[in-house]
């Protein structure tokens, strides 16, 4: 590698880092003060990018139009953030943290379709920045002037933020709030206004990042999901709530990615998440973050009461219908039912972790994907028969969960969630980039059931037996001593240790069990579709069961399958009638969260 390439790669890494920093600092701020993990942050970034694109074309200021548009887009997105906070989030601060997450996830769906509706799904090439359009020779290579400007601009924003935090009263309050919210409230600060202002500022930073990205890359409607995972990585590595940490981590990630492309082009995706996993394992609270002040509300991420008994008659009736009805249904509906069954099991397996164990995983897709790919690869590479692959797949997923869980259960709350996300992303990256074995993007095709199982009805009954047995077993485990002790550890980990419970060991076992059944769900799904794709490991696939569990109600194991059924039916129906099903789904989710902050089961029980 010649020195000139090194210089240029370093610079382009830094330019990327500056954009990352803008987005991540906003995300970090919002989390630090409001404790909301804002999944919609990437959507705000995307929105600002598209706004800049259109405004630049529309404004009459000539060369200045672009710069005015950047500012206007950042301000506009800041206002959108303000509306979101006041109109929606504020209503659910009292609800368990996860319902806020569900709300921001719903916004991801809505904003994504709004952008599609307004700008269409084709990629757009944005304007270049007037005056900064060309390249300058650096170390004998041409380097984009705009990127150079970004490298100057990023630190200026950092400096402005520093001034805001360390030289204004408002900044002092924000710093105080990131460290001890309750104390700031006790000091008589108007918390509601502080939260609103922080959310608007954080959103504006995301907007600024999105707007500045326009000359650098084409606009696509998947900008939101690709940036949000990167932003999370940066925030977690830097330390949740730490703006200097976000700067440091953004530079690290930007540079690592830039050089990664040169050194190990096949492993770029893996690298960032591997770095995040290592940081989390060695320093769970991030490079410049502080350890969570434990105790207050510890383990109470989700308030949950004892299980709601579901009437036996209802279960028997449901099972009877599931056995008797499918032969009367059109094939398409049978397929939908299989999918619902797979996801019901997938959600139920996550419920053991997040409901019973209080361990919220953002990476449960790993088990699903490992089950699916496990089955597919066993057939393709090892040449085993389909029934054997179907049974062995959950074992593969459980074995991987044993390794992943070993590291994850050392952490708690949001850090646990982020480490699970990191491992899922690592798995995603490996599957995505290891073409020779996994087929990469093209996936693995022709993963069909054995001949004697290949009719829709026969496969349906296999799925019914596998998934119902899985859900039933998870129910039994939840009610067994293990489930009871897991709930106890969730309620009060220290108390549980002080009655002789090795909490980590129990959580680890829960992780493996959840991995096993998540893998069974993945195996059921892969033989339904006949193919496995990297997106089985993707973030949305991890969020789906989370949404299902929350939708159904986290306090009852029966809520997970119920939520899965509701989600999948909504999904199927909405897809049939409109191209913009994500928006419909998002609006329904928002409504549900605002109307039933305890999930559907919680309402059924009361009513």
């Amino acid at each position: 590698m010649s020195p000139s390439i090194i210089v240029v790669q370093l610079l382009s890494g830094l330019a990327k880092a500056m954009v990352l920093f803008l987005i991540a600092s906003g995300l970090s701020l919002i989390f630090g003060v409001t404790r909301v993990v804002n999944f919609a942050h990437g959507s705000l970034y995307m929105l600002a990018a598209y706004l800049t694109y259109s405004l630049t074309a529309a404004l009459p200021f000539g060369a200045a139009s672009f710069y005015v548009s950047v500012l206007a887009a950042a301000v506009a997105v800041g206002l959108v953030g303000l509306v979101i906070e006041v109109g929606l989030l504020r209503r659910v601060y009292k609800a368990p943290e996860l319902y806020q997450l569900l709300l921001t996830f719903a916004l991801v769906l809505v904003i994504s379709d709004v952008v599609k509706l307004a700008w269409g799904s084709e990629n757009k090439t944005g304007p270049s920045a007037p005056g900064l359009a060309g390249s300058v020779p650096i170390a004998g290579q041409l380097f984009p002037t705009y990127d150079l400007a970004l490298i100057v601009f990023g630190p200026l924003v950092a400096l402005a933020l520093w001034w805001l935090f360390y030289r204004t009263r408002w900044g002092v309050l924000i710093r105080a709030a990131t460290q001890d919210r309750e104390m700031v409230a006790a000091l008589g600060v108007d918390q509601a206004r502080l939260f609103t202002a922080v959310f608007a500022l954080g959103s504006a930073l995301a907007g600024l990042g999105g707007a500045l990205q326009v000359p650098r890359q084409p606009l696509t409607i998947v900008m939101d999901t690709s940036i949000i995972t990167e932003a999370f990585v940066v925030v977690v590595i830097g330390g949740m709530g730490s703006v200097p940490g976000a700067l440091l981590a953004a530079v690290m990630i930007g540079v690592i990615e830039a050089f990664g492309v040169l050194v190990l082009p096949k492993a770029t995706l893996v690298m960032t998440f591997a770095v995040m996993a290592i940081v989390l394992i060695v320093r769970p609270w991030g490079l410049l973050g502080r350890p969570e002040s434990q105790g207050r509300g510890a383990g109470g991420a989700i308030a949950s009461t004892s299980a709601v008994p579901v009437p036996r008659a209802a279960i028997v009736a449901l099972l009877a219908a599931l056995v008797a009805l499918p032969p009367l249904l059109p094939t398409f509906h049978v397929w939908v039912l299989v999918e619902i069954l797979a996801f019901a099991l997938f959600a139920a397996s996550l419920h053991l972790l997040m409901g019973t164990g209080g361990m919220v995983s953002f990476g449960h897709a790993a088990s699903f994907g490992l089950g699916a790919y496990g089955a597919a690869l066993l057939m393709k590479l090892a040449g085993v028969t389909m029934p054997v692959a179907f049974v062995a797949a959950p074992v593969v997923a459980a074995a991987c969960a044993l390794v992943i869980g070993f590291f994850c259960v050392r952490l708690s709350s949001i850090y646990f969630a982020m480490l699970t996300l990191a491992f899922a992303q690592i798995a995603y990256a490996i599957v995505h980039q290891w073409y020779d074995v996994t087929g990469g993007d093209n996936g693995l095709l022709g993963v069909w059931p054995a001949r004697w199982l290949a009719t829709p009805l026969r496969y349906y009954y296999l799925a019914l037996v596998a998934c119902v047995a899985g859900i039933a077993l998870l129910g039994v485990i939840g009610r067994a001593p293990f489930g009871l002790v897991l709930r106890a550890a969730r309620d009060h980990a220290r108390r549980a240790e002080a009655v002789g419970v090795n909490v980590r060991r129990h959580q680890w076992l829960a992780f493996v069990i959840a991995g096993f059944f998540g893998g069974l769900a993945g195996a059921t799904f892969v033989f339904l579709k006949g193919s496995a794709f990297p997106d089985y490991f993707s973030v949305p696939r991890s969020v789906e069961p989370l949404v299902m569990v929350l939708l159904g109600g986290v306090q009852a194991p029966a809520g997970a399958p119920l939520g899965a059924a509701i989600y999948k039916i909504l999904d199927t129906v909405a897809t049939k009638y409109t191209e913009y099903w994500q928006m419909v789904l998002g609006v329904i989710l928002v409504t549900l969260v605002l109307a039933f902050p305890r999930g559907v089961i919680g309402v059924l029980r009361r009513g």
């Binding site: 009461t305 009610r479 067994a480 001593p481 709930r487 106890a488 002080a498 002789g500 419970v501």
Partner: protein, 249 residues
């Protein structure tokens, strides 16, 4: 002299430059109920956290029935037969009162990882007996999170007794309760302890409770043990009066 249950030898712990526990040594004979008193910040809770494995000591050793226990995890120390309660009540809030005790029992009989039998029917007898002993049997089906404060303290006691411990460590067992209730709860604790032949070490701010219950009393001040003896001895101790009772009276 009776067998020594707990032997603490020159234990130290400092935070920054502050010696929270400074060269503390004592031995606790079997069957004794001993109080550890001292003003706020004397180091009582720190010492408790060292004894129960929540905090590592900087120096010194802790032996339980002759066996060194420093460096063991809290759950491992519990397994050896040391039960504890917390200064800030710690129960499993969403579990019922009965389930709270069942968890401790299931852990004791090493069934906490059983996967396929309903927990509902396990360890019912012993758990119910414990609840009867502390007077909570009629509340067994309520969630621990909704109990009155005094009942939470009783539940903690039942949990601490669940594994037939040899030694009970109670960190301010009556803190936050009404004065009348305090005496009653401590009398109940003492009665159970004597009936079972338990050794008890407890911290307490209520001097009436301390002098009414303890066989012997130790006084901790600024991390050091400054006196140890019978209630009468401690009451008459000049240094204790100066640094401790002097402040309070």
């Amino acid at each position: 002299m009776a067998d020594v249950v707990l032997e603490v030898d020159r234990v130290r712990k400092s935070f920054g430059g502050v010696h929270a526990v400074d060269d503390v040594s004592f031995a606790l004979p079997a069957g004794e109920i001993r109080a550890l008193i001292g003003p706020n910040g004397a180091g009582k809770t720190t010492l408790f956290n060292i004894l129960t494995g929540q905090l590592p000591a900087d120096a010194g050793s802790v032996r339980f029935r002759g066996r060194p226990i420093d460096g063991l995890a809290p759950w491992a120390i519990w397994r050896l037969g040391i039960g504890r309660t917390f200064q800030i009540t710690a129960t499993f809030a969403t579990l019922t009162v009965l389930e709270n005790v069942q968890v401790a029992r299931l852990s004791h009989v090493r069934r906490s990882r059983a996967l396929f039998r309903p927990a509902r029917t396990l360890e019912l007898g012993p758990a119910t007996t414990l609840l009867e002993q502390v007077g909570l049997a009629d509340q067994r089906s309520r969630a621990a999170g909704v109990l009155a404060y005094g009942d939470l303290k009783k539940l903690e006691l039942a949990i601490a007794l669940a594994h037939d411990p040899t030694l009970l460590l109670l960190d301010e067992p009556t803190a936050g309760m009404a004065p009348a209730e305090r005496g009653a709860l401590m009398a109940l604790t003492a009665r159970i302890a004597r009936a079972r032949g338990l050794t008890v070490l407890f911290t307490e701010h209520d001097m009436d409770v301390v002098f009414a219950t303890a066989d012997r009393i130790m006084v901790l001040h600024q991390g050091r043990l400054i006196a140890e003896g019978t209630p009468d001895h401690v009451r008459a101790h000049r240094e204790v009066q100066a640094v401790y009772l002097g402040d309070a009276v």
